[in-house]
């Protein structure tokens, strides 16, 4: 394997020394392009109090290509499917090498705060969301307390 580009080294150093609030990301010891991410659900969202595990991988041609990111924790969200895949423009067509791991993770956190059922990935969830938003939010909260419980959790399942 080729040496790790300086940009990745720098980004990793900064992620560790100056982490994004509510998000931790650490590279795997065996593969410095693979990160284990833990993301707090945003406050006053259905995902509040949940801690979601994600995996993030930097392809060989990063930063020309976006990182590959996937939820490992089950989540009820119109833009995230059963396999944890995320529908987010900056992870696809709107990627730019000016973006970084930290900005991508922030975008994902923002997506949790404001689901967008009009550009769905999980069609059934999006349908539910559009039909009865209150009910969908209820399910999202239920899933959060069921699957995304914080390890240090307050345990306030509603």
């Amino acid at each position: 394997m080729a040496a790790l580009p300086r940009r990745i080294i720098k980004e990793t150093e900064r992620l560790i020394s100056d982490p994004v609030p509510g998000i931790t990301a650490y590279p795997d010891e065996s593969n410095l392009r693979a990160f284990t991410v833990a993301m707090d659900g945003p406050d006053s969202s259905p995902y509040e109090h949940g801690v979601f595990d994600l995996e993030l991988y930097l392809p060989d041609d990063y930063p020309m290509c976006p990182p590959k990111v996937r939820f490992l924790t089950r989540i009820y969200h119109p833009n995230i499917d059963k396999l944890g895949r995320i529908c987010l423009d900056v992870l696809k067509d709107n990627w730019s090498p000016a973006l970084q791991i930290r900005t991508i993770l922030l975008s994902i956190q923002a997506l949790l705060a404001s689901p967008n059922p009009d550009d769905p990935l999980a069609n059934d969830v999006a349908e539910d969301w559009k039909k009865d938003e209150a009910k969908a939010i209820g399910v999202a909260k239920e899933w959060t307390s069921k699957y995304a419980k914080s390890h240090t959790a307050s345990g306030s399942a509603e």
Binding site: P5, R6, R7, K10, E11, D61, P63, M64, C65, K92, D93, W95, S96, P97, A98
Partner: protein, 136 residues
């Protein structure tokens, strides 16, 4: 008294001149590889002549030539500047990069332009701002 300088062995450092017309000093880091411009892009061994810069024209963003080439090779780049997402156009300066590299750059930029025009024909509602810029 006469003091005559017979010979001078000096030590100096070279720097890219990144002053953008009016807006003062530009970024010191390449927005793509995040290495200072006076250093090399990830694929070069030696800075300077071997790893030239490309100065944005129209936007104020500069890059290592090899970095922007790699970006524009991506279809997803759509020919846009990674920093400001304007259509990327560069200043033509003599001796910056090999003719082959500059040719490739030109080909890529034109390719993206053609792509955009085709899309515009397909979707009349799209913005034509890009085209305006490209006609310089």
């Amino acid at each position: 008294m006469k003091v005559q300088v017979l010979e001078w062995n000096a030590v100096a450092s070279w720097h890219w001149d990144l002053k953008v017309d009016d807006s003062g000093v530009a970024d010191e880091l390449c927005g793509i590889c995040r290495v200072p411009f006076d250093g090399t892009c990830p694929s070069c061994k030696y800075p300077g002549t071997d790893c030239p810069l490309i100065l944005g024209d129209g936007c104020t963003h500069n890059f290592h030539l090899h970095c922007i080439l790699k970006w524009l090779e991506q279809d997803t780049s759509k020919g846009l500047c990674p920093m400001c997402r304007q259509v990327f156009v560069y200043k033509r300066i003599k001796n910056m990069g090999t003719s082959e590299e500059l040719h490739n750059l030109q080909v890529l930029i034109e390719g993206h332009k053609a792509m955009r025009e085709r899309e515009n024909e397909e979707n009349e509602f799209d913005s034509f701002e890009d085209d305006v810029r490209m006609t310089d």
